[in-house]
């Protein structure tokens, strides 16, 4: 059964329409990658699922119930956690405090400080460092860890690779199987197509707010993806 169903949503920022009738569904335990160039509406899609944006049309259902009008802080206890684009750490707090804030509305589950540090060993020695002084990779790992601290059923990852050195991106993606192994459903948004394809069970490509390509990584060809990506 689908854990998350997004049904033909339109999303506006003021009069700027960022999403035109996108639909998708993610099954419990599945990993879906949404790819597309910047400006394609990927981040807006995740924000709408997390509750930071409201769809003007269409519906968002979680576990069969409509959540389209719930504010973000009421979605967390249901088990929806977003690692936002740009990481959005709390800069005046330490890495560990950031993780603890993530547990503000914690649900029962496997994730706690210990298991997060075990999954992201690079955080372990940095726990008392101010988030503002942490490196990009440390911040990204902490941002994912912070989202895990509430033990989400659905983890939304926005542009994990952005601005990070390839080796760091590798490290972070290497921890994703540990997360999905706990049964967590993951929806990942990426510009870096290769990484997205490696971890995803299914891929959906957006261009300027619409879905232009969909399939399993095995079905899609390089040319199809390049065409869908640039629209030329």
């Amino acid at each position: 059964m689908a854990l998350l169903e997004v049904e033909s949503i339109d999303v506006f920022y003021g009069d700027f329409q960022a999403i035109y009738g996108i639909s998708l569904s993610v099954d419990e335990g599945e990993t879906l990658a949404v790819i597309g160039a910047n400006g394609a509406g990927k981040s807006t899609l995740l924000k709408t699922i997390a509750g930071l944006s409201r769809p003007s049309a269409g519906d968002v259902r979680f576990d069969g119930t409509s959540i389209a009008t719930l504010p973000p802080h009421k979605r967390v206890p249901l088990g929806i956690a977003l690692t936002p684009e740009g990481r959005r750490m709390f800069p005046s707090m330490t890495i560990e405090e950031n993780l603890l804030v993530g547990a503000h509305k914690s649900r029962p589950g496997p994730w706690n400080l210990e298991s997060v540090y075990a999954t992201f060993p690079l955080l372990s020695d940095r726990r008392s460092r101010l988030a503002n002084n942490a490196s990009g990779g440390e911040q990204q790992a902490a941002a994912i860890g912070r989202a895990l601290m509430c033990n989400p059923r659905l983890l939304l990852l926005d542009e994990v690779s952005l601005g990070l050195a390839p080796v760091v991106v590798e490290q972070i993606y290497a921890s994703l199987p540990t997360i999905t192994a706990q049964g967590t459903t993951v929806l990942v948004v990426e510009q870096d197509v290769m990484h997205a394809l490696r971890v995803a069970d299914r891929v959906q490509c957006l261009l300027e707010g619409r879905t232009v390509l969909e399939g399993t990584p095995a079905e899609l060809t390089r040319d199809q993806i390049a065409t869908a990506y640039f629209g030329i």
Binding site: R88, P91, S92
Partner: protein, 289 residues
Amino acid sequence: MEWANAVVQGLLLGGLYALLAAGLSLMFGVMRLVNLAHGALAIVAAYLGYVLVQNTGLPPFATIIVVIPVMAALGWVLQSTLLNTALNKQALAPILVTFGLAVILQNLMLQLFTADYRSIQVGDLAGASIQITPEIAIGVFPLITFIVGVIVIAALQQYLARTKTGRAMRATSDDREAATLMGIDNKRIYALATAIALAIVGVAGIFIGIKTQFNAYSGDTYLIFAFEAVIIGGLGSLWGTLAGGMILGVATTVGAQLFPSSGTLLADLVFLAILAFLPTGLFPKVVNG
């Protein structure tokens, strides 16, 4: 040494200013709201203490047991209704609304208590002092004020650093939107911050009521001192606020010797000088969110 005495008295006075400033700083830190009614609210608390002492015979310091919850409840209600609405309106709305609130409170108090000066009587304690050297005597009441100021600031600091809701408050201050993604209800956090701020102002109000004579308009001066302490100490730093309060306290007592008719002049000038030469305050916030 008259001057040394003035400095010691000033340092102690700084505790009271810091108490006043802590609430202002907390509200600004958490929701970027400058509460122009802060001084008037301190006087509301002072009158509350005065009425309690007059009518129930409660010992002056014991009024805090009533004043703190009343002020906290007032803060919660004020934030949940008026101030949250103002924060969602145009940019100038919060300033104008809190200014309007100050005018309302002041004139309400004026109507209820007239313009006569009142004070909360503590009897012998008011004059009691500990002789340190032949020239310097420390008043018992100023000392209590200072200790309470330090304790409240330390407690607030610990609350923000160690507790779950304290962390949620700092997270909201750093990045409100990201905080909501952690399941934090920012309206509730705002109401809580204002409740705490007013509880602290409540304590400050009682001490003002005991320390000096006050009337409905006395809050203006205290709002200015609180604001100056926050700016001198640097936004977002509570210990900086305490230091700022102590600098102002010394400037006030020394200034009272220099200009007997305008006691606060030197403090204001010190503030303006710091503003001119150190625009981020003495203890600039280490990080900027």
